[in-house]
Symmetry: C2
């Protein structure tokens, strides 16, 4: 199978499209898998979204996303856990085995990063039996450290893995995202150590300058500074043989015609190997 057979379009790359349009786009461009997001799935309706991807014969590589467990208010913490249980059920209904988690930043009003990390571990512990009963694995995603304060205190693959291995392998794994992790000298060793805990591999490029909204600074593969082939080789050597998502947050990409964006995604994808 050509590497293109493993390409999955993460829906965030064509953020302006609903599920139906994104599914059509994948079919039109012979992309066999899609990474869905909860918000557009909710807009389409869960059953409708599941029917759309099923009818198109698409694999759903992941559902994005759960997490955001760090709250000062116990009621807000409980609500986030309840919402993550719903997300697990949604993932199962959509036919994907992976729910991506963005764990959450510092607890509002606190600078105690250890507190935030403990709160995340506790929340995941509560979700484990639900994940297992649905046959869904939670994918802990380490985000780039520039998001540590406000979005995700888990900042390295090694840290995500140290968290994941506290739980059964059929319930919790890790996400490898080149954008967030490429700079880490320990990345090759941590990927090898992750082995079968890798539940998702996402690629996009690190481009400069960073935009005013640093969430939106991602580039097409090849437009930036990341040396993808060694990372992809390490992920393959670790045993990951699943779909590979292209996930690009970038206003310019979003403003481009989706067919053009996806043509670029397809054209650039082989450069990552």
């Amino acid at each position: 199978m050509s590497v293109l057979g493993r390409l999955s379009l993460n829906q965030a790359t064509v953020k302006r499209l609903g599920v139906a349009e994104a599914v059509d786009l994948c079919v039109r461009h012979e992309i066999g898998a899609i990474g869905l997001w909860r918000e557009p799935v909710a807009e389409a309706g869960l059953a409708t979204a599941a029917a759309l991807v099923g009818a198109a014969g698409l694999r759903v590589s992941s559902l994005c996303r759960g997490g955001f467990f760090t709250h000062a208010d116990p009621a807000a913490r409980a609500a986030s856990i309840a919402d993550n249980k719903v997300a697990i059920a949604e993932a199962a209904a959509l036919g994907t085995g992976t729910l991506v988690l963005v764990a959450g930043g510092l607890v509002p009003g606190s600078r105690d990063i250890g507190l935030a990390r403990r709160m995340i571990a506790d929340a995941i512990g509560e979700l484990v039996p639900v994940a297992q009963s649905h046959g869904v694995r939670l994918g802990v995603e380490a985000l780039h450290p520039m998001f540590a304060a406000d979005r995700c205190v888990i900042t390295r693959l090694g840290e995500a893995l140290d968290l994941a291995v506290q739980f059964p392998a059929d319930a919790v794994g890790v996400v490898v995202d080149t954008y967030h992790l490429w700079w880490d000298a320990a990345l090759p060793a941590d990927i090898a150590r992750a082995g079968e805990r890798i539940v998702s591999y996402q690629v996009c490029d690190w481009i400069l300058p960073l935009p005013a909204d640093t969430l939106l600074g991602r580039g097409h593969v090849g437009d930036g500074h990341i040396d993808f082939p060694p990372i992809s080789a390490a992920v393959a050597a670790a045993g990951y043989a699943g779909d590979i998502e292209v996930e690009i947050f970038n206003e310019t990409v979003w403003d481009a015609p989706p067919d053009e964006t996806v043509a670029t995604v397809r054209k650039r994808f082989p450069l990552a190997f």
Copy 2:
């Protein structure tokens, strides 16, 4: 000695001032040490700068900065090493035992981060005998990973330390800067492991949102999200008893009256312990 006795004003915090004005400012605010930068030292003249700090009775906690070793062109690499030898001599002339190094980003035209790292190690190796002969230690500074592509491929204290320990302890150490390192779950362990290799401790805060120029997003201690006391305690427990620099890159801080800035620096400094 009160902790204020260890406060050093890094000159970058009052970037608009020349050496003479910055020295006067320290004297006026009873700050016993200063971290100097090469550019304003050159403007003042090396001998004049040394005489100014000497006459004021100030300790020079460090000279910023050497480094930027990653160049595709061998002549440019050689020039950077030659320039770093000059910087070592300048540090010695100014009476400081520490030259801070910002190692450099990816080699222009290359995505091979390993190549950049090897180039940095080779350059430091060339500088070691010069540093030893001048009684100056090179302080390898890990920068925040958001600067990995364009400024410094050394992104974690542990990585800086793995590099430093390849060389004699009297020649190469590491810089601990809260702004760059606070997010790292391995930071406490890496500080302990660094021990006497710590040659500089710098504090400033991580504030949000990041500005358009992410180099300039640093805040006064207490204005942001960093939990300083555990980091300061770890640095102290590791054996570092030297000066502690406040180094703030921020246009708003630079535009404020320097006396006001330094009054805030003094007032906030004890909050870091």
